[in-house]
Amino acid sequence: MPKSTFVYVVYIASTPEKVWSGLLDGEFTRQYWEHENVSDWKAGSKWEHRKGSESGEASILGEVVEARKPSRLVLTWAAPHEAKLRHRHSKVTFEIEAVADMTRLTVTHDELEANSDMERKITSGWPRVLSSLKTLLETGKPLKTWAGR
């Protein structure tokens, strides 16, 4: 089965520490992503991307492969109904680097099944999520990215 890779880069006027917590702090992610990312963020732990509140259902789940605060986080990524099908899991790598007075966030989503539903979802999702994260960190206000969709 062919696999595909997508790379997204965004420059944010913020610090690597703030970008790191911007990705992992559930209170914060809810504001711009409409989901809470929940885990203890240790290598080998499970993580979940939950709709709404703590008790919400997971829309995405996986394992933390590597966590090196605040510069590198690697997660596996799967829809809940594919949790047991390891070969369907994809991988997301976040790399966070200070560049001059900005922070560069690179998201590499690979090992994705080409032309799958998941591929369609993430290719429309990541640009919106990252643009919204940037706006929230820079202005204090999230974009209403999901309104009317």
Binding site: T5, V7, Y8, V9, T106, P127, L130, S131, T145
Partner: protein
Amino acid sequence: MKDSDLVFKALADPGRRKLLDVLNAGDGLTLSDLRAHLDMTRQGVTQHLAVLEAAGLVATLRRGRHKLHFLNPVPLQEIYDRWIARFERSRVRALRDLKQRLEGARNA
């Protein structure tokens, strides 16, 4: 120059827009892959890629000996959020649908 100026400038050239289309169709292309899709010299492709990279529209990844080029749509999303979403998205959509219907009818 502001980031959005670089994006608009990068998009102003039809060759660069074609390059983005090619990158959108197949992820992770080398310079040689890109050349195979485009009627451009190696130097031309290299120059256009430099402008697109400076605008943030192309991201690169090293895989072994190869440098792979990817379309990075995040700057386009920022322009969308700034220039389209904010201005009456529903009317823009209605006009686009009307245009497609009328053009579809003409081509039928």
